[in-house]
Symmetry: C2
Subunit: 430 residues, 2 copies
Amino acid sequence: MPGPRIDRTHDQRLRCWVPGAMGHQDFPVQNLPMCSFIAAGRSRAGVLIGDFVLGLECLGATLGDDDADLRPVFAARNLDRFVALPSHRRARVRALISDYLTSDPGPTAKQALFASDEVKFTVPATVTDFSDFFAGIHHALTAGRFFRPEEPLLPNYKHVPIAYHGRSSSVVASGHPVRRPSGQVAAHGATAPEWRASRRLDFELELAFWISGGNPLGEPIPIAEAGDKLVGVGLLNDWSARDIQSWETKPLGPFLGKSFLTTVSPAIVTAEALAPFRAPQPARDAGDPAPLPYLFDPADQDAGAFDIQLEVALASQAMRERGEEPAVLTRSSGLDLYWTVAQMIAHHSSNGCNLRAGDVFGSGTVSGAAPDGHGSLLEHTGGGRSPIELPNGESRLFLEDGDEVILRGWCKRDGFARIGLGEARGIIFA
Amino acid sequence: MPGPRIDRTHDQRLRCWVPGAMGHQDFPVQNLPMCSFIAAGRSRAGVLIGDFVLGLECLGATLGDDDADLRPVFAARNLDRFVALPSHRRARVRALISDYLTSDPGPTAKQALFASDEVKFTVPATVTDFSDFFAGIHHALTAGRFFRPEEPLLPNYKHVPIAYHGRSSSVVASGHPVRRPSGQVAAHGATAPEWRASRRLDFELELAFWISGGNPLGEPIPIAEAGDKLVGVGLLNDWSARDIQSWETKPLGPFLGKSFLTTVSPAIVTAEALAPFRAPQPARDAGDPAPLPYLFDPADQDAGAFDIQLEVALASQAMRERGEEPAVLTRSSGLDLYWTVAQMIAHHSSNGCNLRAGDVFGSGTVSGAAPDGHGSLLEHTGGGRSPIELPNGESRLFLEDGDEVILRGWCKRDGFARIGLGEARGIIFA
């Protein structure tokens, strides 16, 4: 089986001493998402537990000699050391944190707890490279129809886990304001552009896969070993300026239409935490090609997908001012991806490209098959043609200044505690 | 005028105490390219001088209080701190090194000199992001003809400094072996791929622009300030597997066809060193659009180009075994670029994307207009159709195992010392 097993850390009956953590809908003690945060003027590595974040330094003193290698991980200012650990040591970190939070707390334990709404979360680890896949097949189909009605899905799609290199410098943590970018824009069919603020600013609902990497340059990662390279999962909003993107994108792909900002959720929900929520990769349509051998692993096909529920909510400035709830625009699932993360890892390294700790893969826009599954406004509005209506009567073709976009994700399964991925938020400003 | 001025460090009459440095064709004391290297088991920042490299630590003791900020730069293990300096402090570094190498050397000075052929050069600074432009218009035209005979140059080309995000992890220093990548490859017109070693492995002759960056996320760099963000220039071989590239590239651009390896020369020839070799940006063809205002700066048009001579040489294994000289395949020039580096910097940041110290921009393949100007085998062979002949009777459509590709660059101008960019080398192996 690829990836970690279900163990005692997933037990629903675990009791945790942190107030409010029991039954917390996102961050019960069965989740233990890793994060980086600033509190009392210092950057720290931490773990989310209920409505709190526990600074990991407090665990350093509890480590025995067998775990001496983890001292710098717990003392670190962010998760750079954690994401570089091999998978069995990441599992050990989880076990230690689980034990700490379910045993009698020592006298200093509560000093390491910070209220989550009083700290500043940062990008969990240094993003060494950002690669954005295109594995949401419903998105690829719907978006492809706008550009190529006669051939929405290109011939390579079901053979190649298509991806492009993204920009790592502009990956920010949830809550960072999203400045509307300006750029070259050409009206449909025009051959000369003008320079102006984007009028087609969009979100893209994606999963973020945090990778440990470690293969030497020139050495592919076999798919049977690829699952071990997944540190964990977060949410990723691949903000897109469609008008800038469409003018610049040929022949080398998206650039400034994407690189102005990418928002990730602060928490890495670990591969260990997700063990109960693994699922078979959904069967391909009849007539689809089988994955080439370097992308095919029976164990990965059996349990390489993640049953993660996803949604996008939007709150306009008017809605927020009136205290109205964000409107849920989109519901989709990790099972809407055509490729598993192990396939992405095997593919990305198949030419010998070295993956490193801190590599982030975007899944590609995760759209569901149903109309409420559209993972971007481009899809919701038929390519910017038919506005969607918000509950308060406002309508949108694309995002307006003051709009807040909120990505959310969670996992549920009978017999297991529900766990959440948290949120990735951003408000547009001019 | 954009960028540094000509000053006493460029004086042809300067005398340097390093043996053989006077009149050295690449690295006289008027050049002073910055590098990182390993000698005696330690990584160090250095400067190339003649056939030697000077470890910069030795300069630390010479610094006065006004230059205390440079101590960590000289003591550093690579150029990460140097590339982060503002331009006036980079100029100060040059002045200090020039003085050191042209004054009476102290008793310890020669201990800091290492023979260049006895050290290991590394990538000069940590590559924080790698963006690859497409500014070689002759390359864009010739390569475009193979894919779109009816429209070789897309409508956006003369408006947008086209670029794509590249892979930073696999950027290596000159001399690193180049493993032939495998990948998905589809015969022309085929709809199903096979998996095999690339048969269309190619080089691309590019300039590497090392960037200091520093703009906050969301704040574009105005073109009038962009020139100051150029740390210096090197050579870059954007190795390309054409068969992998052509199958994967739609719709999101090049990925595994490029990311297996990118070779850079070990030296950063600084913007200061290049001051005498600035040139007006060549006039655009009649009928070409003027650059949009955010890309237009009269001073940049007057002196924003670099008169750098470039060449590609190839030595097959048979040639090397017989002691034959590498065959020069290509001659081109920095003046063959359609966009200046200041335009690239202004464009890249125009959407608010934050550039950082250690950003590397590839220029795009620098091809000349003449047939001997083709900066890749793709162009030399008419898209892989007509082999080129080597002096020893061997022929090539694409690179074969054992082939060594050598990029070289240099600048000459009457009244100034000739300076070189050095070399970027790599040998293919299976």
